[in-house]
Structures are given as structure tokens and as C-alpha cells.
Symmetry: C2
Subunit: 187 residues, 2 copies
DNA sequence: TTTGTTTCTAAGCGTTCGCTTAGTTTTTTG
DNA sequence: CAAAAAACTAAGCGAACGCTTAGAAACAAA
């Protein structure tokens, strides 16, 4: 055996996530990661292989952080009101986590929208499809909606959620609230 | 007198705009601009001073290109339906212009959301405030809305427009149409 | 045609990028 | 204690970044 690591990979990846969240992928350099994570480049590369590897782990870390609000959404029994609560949670949780730069996943979705990075694209598509199917299940609990209506409304809510995350980076609390309320007045 | 320029600044800035539109600011290098604009770095710097200068001119160029749909919006006499038509125009025009990467202004708004670039920020704030006041005028033509409602709905539409531009980079035509229709279903 | 001015070409400036590697320090084993 | 193995430090790699500059080429005026 030999010397053991002087840092926790879980702890340093949380710091990396925070930095990526604030600055995006391209605007975060490995030198910045060194300082934020508190370890040097050798350790970064031996633990995560590449800057890209650090980012993928950061995305996983983010997903686990926001898992609670997904769980709440899925376990809810109040149909479309659960989705509305989820929208409110989506803008509340990130600001509570110290960084007010929208949603890391949506930011990533936008930053990587026109790249060919398959690993990232897969994570994003996966996330969006999953969210859409949850929306559909919630909408279906209202028996008065036919299948076409449910699908249209699910699409609508998915785009609204996307727009909300983008807008939450620049708009204030009142504007966000007005937006959510009016969004659901259409459902 | 002396040798005259062998290129039109207007023509090369249109090519630069197209490139910035496709790739964003940071992901466009001066070497790429050289090739796209068909002139070399010396000419770029002597005409526009810096990469940043080329970008500002590209934004102006973009604004003039989409001016027609703003004009149509302002000259319309059908209240909120003019805004809806404007939403459709906003996603149609860019695809007709050859590049299907959403709206250059909104892309820029997002890319520069957390920078301190005042010149860019000013252009963006200006654009958004202008759009909001047009929305307010249009909504006011419906006398049944009180002032609070008008303001809330204007905010809502502004965020919806922002989200639409972000979403139009990744969503298909049908999804976009569903989104617009539902957005206006309760206004 | 000569002169003066401007554009153009192309090489290269200093800096930062993601990443690697040589060499030292620390820790666990026989 | 000595040897082996892993983690560490720090220097530096080639490439790309935004930008500059020396010198050749082109053209309008004298």
C-alpha cells in the first residue's frame, strides 16, 4: 500500500460544480478549478481524467443535489399543482444553494446546444425526456383532458420551464412569480 | 490620396454577424472571422478596432435586419394579436435568414448575462425595455384590462419571448407552435 | 513617372489554454 | 529500517487566443 489521498473527491467535485455553475464550462479554466477545488492539476487529472471529466461529475453532483425536488414532484398527488410547485421549487432551490445563476442543467443545455458533445447531449436529452413524461403523468390525472391536449400542454410546460431557467438568471423575483402564475393560468 | 479598400465594411460585417450568430462570441476566434469575412486580421483591426468592435457592429447589423418585424409589430392595429404574430415572426425570420440558432440578441443576452460588459448590457437592456413598452401599448388597447394586469402580462410575454428564443435553438416547429398558442390562450 | 499615402500580407508578439511529466514527499508494507 | 507505491509539487509542453507590426504592393495626386 501507499500514501492515501488528502482530499475527498466528493468534496472537491462540489466545489467544481459551484464554479461551473457560476461561470459555465468554457469560461472555467483548469487553473480556476485548481484554486476552487483546493488541489492541483495533477490531482484533478488523476482523479477525473480531464476538464470534461470534472464537468460530467459536476453534472451528476448537481442532479443529486436537486433530486429532492424531483422526488417531491413525482410523489405529489395534486396533478398540475405539483408541476406548479415544482416550478417554484426550481427557482427557489438554486438561490438557496448560494449561486443565483439559474439551473446548471439548463445553462449547460444552452451552452452545449450546438456542439456535438454526445455525452453531454445524452445527459440533457435524458433529463428533458424524463421531465416531460412526469409532466404527462401529472396532466393525465385530469380525466377531462384528451391525449392531444395532454401532449401539447406537456410540451408547453417543458418549454416554459426551459425559459424560466434562462430568465431566472436575469429577472427578479416578482417577474418570475408573475410568469409562473400566468403560465399555469393557461392550463 | 491612395489605395482604396477592396472590401465593403457592410458586406464583411454581415458575414461576421452570421458567424457570431452560429457560434456565439467566445466561440468565435479572430482566425475564424478572417476566413468568414474574407479579409485578414490587419483589415479587421483597422476597420473595427477589436474583436469586440466587430461584435458590436454585428449586433447593430442584426437589429437592422430584424427591424422589419418590429415595424410590423408597432404598426399593427390588432392589439395582442399583433404580439402573437410577432412571436411567430420572431421564430420564422431567423430560420429564413439561413441560420437556425435562435435570436442573436437573446443568445447574446444569455451569453453576457453575468459579465460586466456595459456596452453589451446597455444594448440588451435597451432592446428589452423597448420591447416591453411596445407590449404594454398593445395590451392597453384592450380597455377591460387594468394597469396591474397589463404590467403583469407584459412581463409574462417578455419572459415568454425570451424563453421562446432560447427554446427555438433546440425545439422543433410543432413544439414551438404549441408553445406560442398556449402562451396566448389566456391573454 | 515620381511621390506620398493607404491597404494588404504574413510573421510573430505575449498570454492563456488543456494537459503532461520529471522528480520529491509521504505512507504502508516486509 | 529499507523498499515499494501512491500522492504530491512545480515546471513546462504545444496549440490557440487577441492583437501588433515590418515591409511589400497598389493606387491617387503632382
Amino acid at each position: 500500500m501507499a500514501r492515501s489521498k488528502q482530499y475527498s473527491e466528493q468534496e472537491v467535485i462540489e466545489k467544481a460544480m459551484s464554479l461551473f455553475w457560476r461561470n459555465g464550462y468554457e469560461n472555467t479554466s483548469v487553473r480556476m478549478l485548481e484554486k476552487e477545488m483546493g488541489i492541483n492539476q495533477f490531482s484533478i487529472y488523476s482523479s477525473f481524467g480531464s476538464k470534461h471529466g470534472v464537468f460530467l461529475e459536476s453534472l451528476k453532483c448537481y442532479k443529486s443535489k436537486v433530486f429532492s425536488i424531483f422526488e417531491k414532484l413525482q410523489n405529489g398527488t395534486d396533478g398540475v399543482n405539483d408541476i406548479k410547485a415544482f416550478f417554484y421549487d426550481s427557482v427557489r432551490i438554486p438561490t438557496e444553494m448560494g449561486s443565483n445563476k439559474g439551473c446548471l442543467l439548463t445553462n449547460t443545455y444552452n451552452e452545449f446546444a450546438d456542439t456535438e458533445d454526445q455525452l453531454i447531449q445524452d445527459q440533457m436529452t435524458d433529463f428533458m425526456n424524463n421531465l416531460k413524461s412526469i409532466f404527462i403523468e401529472k396532466l393525465k390525472t385530469d380525466k377531462s383532458k384528451d391525449e392531444t391536449t395532454v401532449d401539447k400542454q406537456a410540451n408547453y410546460l417543458l418549454l416554459a420551464k426551459h425559459g424560466l431557467a434562462a430568465a431566472s438568471r436575469v429577472n427578479n423575483k416578482q417577474e418570475i412569480e408573475d410568469y409562473i402564475e400566468l403560465t399555469f393560468s393557461n392550463i
